[in-house]
């Protein structure tokens, strides 16, 4: 029997939208900015309920990041909303100078991250955003896994003082975390305990890791699935505790193999506990048009790819350790 199951699918961006509206009611200092993607970001409810605290910036993301930085001077907590590509690569220097280096309390909220944006193709499917954001000193980087966790993360980042990058996506995906969860920034969540391999997954890949776990359990392999929703700061303690037990690792993310979660974990392990590791990630290519499911299969981010990576890393462990 599956320890984790779901009855409903929803998009993570809707979790953000619901969380943002709740913040609008709870915190009068929360303001929201959007660059002509209010519907796509699910910010329309906030815009309708709190029009005086919603700023339509138009298709001008650089200006949006600067305005957000300025709003913090005067005590506001700005949440910017646009696609992940336009939230990071397009405005890297604005984020770097006016937000990160200046230590501004801006929440950069980014939808349609990764391949699952789908048919719009590679121009919009950013696979480098986690890397870009985690390289900025002082930036917190969060990639929640389902609707409920995205909502909880949205609420949590309003309480955190400092710049945050919150990454979520477009397609409807299983809801498998509790509705009433309290989101702790930087605290990994262990979904299944196991002894043969540690799977560290983030975002949409967490559910796929749980699907892989159930297939592997049938094969007699005991898998520890840990959700690393916060890529920076990384929960080093949780990762090392698990790896010291299982002695091999698979990382899973909807991101390029360079710059993402896998690289952060590899860096940690190289310093503290060198361990055989496999990476389920995009292999340093751009994406293309297609359905989210077809893209995840073609680019090696499906459940079967996680199963194969686990079998490979366990075989390596037998030889190398």
């Amino acid at each position: 029997m599956n320890k984790y199951s779901y009855t409903e699918k929803k998009d993570t961006r809707s979790g953000f939208g619901v969380g943002l509206s709740e913040l609008g009611a709870k915190n009068p200092n929360v303001v929201a900015l959007c660059a002509d993607l209010t519907g796509s970001l699910k910010m329309d409810d906030f815009a309708k309920k709190y029009p005086e605290r919603f700023i339509q910036v138009g298709i001008a993301e650089a200006n949006m990041m600067g305005i957000a930085a300025g709003l913090t001077i005067g005590g506001y907590i700005p949440f910017t909303g646009t696609f992940a590509n336009f939230s990071t690569g397009r405005v890297y220097d604005q984020i770097r100078q006016s937000i990160a280096y200046s230590g501004k309390n801006v929440k950069i909220c980014a939808s349609h991250a990764g391949l699952t944006l789908g048919e719009d193709g590679a121009t919009h499917q950013i696979l480098e955003d986690i890397g870009l954001m985690k390289m900025l000193p002082g930036m917190t980087v969060i990639n929640p896994c389902d609707f409920n966790q995205t909502k909880a993360a949205t609420l949590a980042i309003a309480k955190h003082v400092g710049p945050v990058y919150l990454r979520f996506g477009r397609p409807a995906v299983p809801i498998f975390t509790p509705a009433d969860q309290v989101f702790e920034i930087g605290k990994a969540i262990t979904f299944t305990e196991g002894t043969d391999v540690s799977i560290f997954a983030t975002g949409h890949l967490v559910w796929k890791a749980l699907e892989a776990e159930s297939i592997l359990r049938e094969k007699g392999i005991s898998v520890e699935v840990i959700d690393i929703h916060t890529i920076k700061p990384l929960d080093a303690e949780a990762i090392l505790r698990s790896v010291k037990k299982t002695k091999c690792v698979v990382s899973c993310e909807e991101h390029n193999m360079y710059g993402g979660l896998g690289e952060s974990i590899a860096h940690l392990l190289a310093k503290h506990y060198p361990t055989p590791m496999e990476f389920v990630a995009v292999q340093d290519t751009f994406g293309e048009s297609g359905t989210p499911d077809d893209l995840m299969k073609k680019y090696g981010l499906d459940t079967s790819n996680i199963v194969a990576a686990v079998e490979k890393v366990i075989a390596r462990k037998m030889v190398e350790v």
Binding site: G58, I67, I73, G75, K104
Partner: protein
């Protein structure tokens, strides 16, 4: 309130600080700093409602100033120090290791008076607009001021911000452009002609004024007119004509002095033309 002759004496000391600060570390941007000296002295001694100490990042009920062309930090640092934001002696640390006076203005070292980092051009107007919107949300009627270089007008983000300010009727902001016609590689006409800058800002929906930036009486009078133009649904822009390197004859009007510091001999000559009025740091 200091008289005009007294303000001009302050300008002379600020220009001494600028050439000494840049010459000591053989780097920095004296030319634009000297061109904008009257503007900074006017702003901090005459125009702005400020609270130097204790410095508040939020600046509620204070006027706020954002320097978008951050490379002219020497003039800002000198004026901030003389106005009591931090000790004048700290000017000696400009661009040195472990200093709060970074090459370009920054907040990371917590230098009082600075509210955002600048240096990478084109970003200051957007930040100032955010601060101006925050003031409106807070029902705070004080002003937000900015300064930009004319070369900086080549950055696209400036025009995103210009369009936004007019569309959103951000009428509590008074911006100025240092129009000295020079940038690193030469004249603005040669590098990338700005065309009719006044017509551009007018067509973007701004209320545009012009001033002689090296005549402090004119600078003050124009900003006071700008204040009267504020609150009427339009952002206000002042095109401020200045002379790069103003105050030292061999530095005036040449783009070499955008980012070159005077050497020892040049420093001695420059100081000979600038009266020490408040005491050197």
């Amino acid at each position: 309130m200091p008289t005009i002759p007294e303000l001009n004496k302050i300008c002379s000391q600020v220009r001494r600080d600028i050439v000494r600060m840049t010459s000591t570390v053989n780097s920095g941007h004296p030319g634009g700093s000297m061109g904008c000296t009257e503007f900074f002295v006017a702003m901090y001694y005459e125009i702005m409602k400020i609270n130097p100490s204790p410095f508040s990042m939020d600046g509620k009920n204070e006027d706020l100033f954002f320097l978008s062309n951050g490379h002219i930090s020497p003039v800002w640092y000198s004026v901030l120090a003389h106005r009591g934001f931090f000790p004048v002696s700290e000017l000696a640390t400009f661009r040195k290791l472990n200093s709060r006076l970074q090459g370009h203005p920054a907040t990371a070292e917590h230098l009082p008076g600075i509210r955002v980092a600048s240096g990478s051009l084109g970003q200051g107007l957007s930040v100032a607009l955010g601060a101006a919107l925050a003031k409106k949300l807070n029902k705070d009627t004080s002003f937000v001021y900015t300064l930009h270089g004319d070369g900086e007008m080549e950055e696209g983000q400036i025009w995103e911000a210009a369009m936004f300010a007019a569309a959103h009727k951000v009428d509590n902001i008074i911006s100025s452009i240092d129009v000295n016609g020079l940038q690193i590689d030469g004249t603005t006409d040669d590098v990338l002609s700005l065309g009719d800058l006044k017509a551009k800002w007018v067509s973007f929906g701004w209320d545009v004024l012009e001033s002689n930036g090296n005549d402090i009486e004119n600078v003050i009078a124009t900003i006071k007119i700008a204040q009267q133009h504020s609150g009427k649904g339009k952002p206000v822009m002042i095109l401020m004509k200045t002379i790069m390197g103003k105050g030292v004859d061999f530095m005036e009007n040449h783009h070499k002095w955008h980012g070159t510091a005077p050497n020892k001999d040049e420093l001695a000559k420059a100081l000979g033309q600038l009266e020490e009025t408040l005491g050197d740091y």
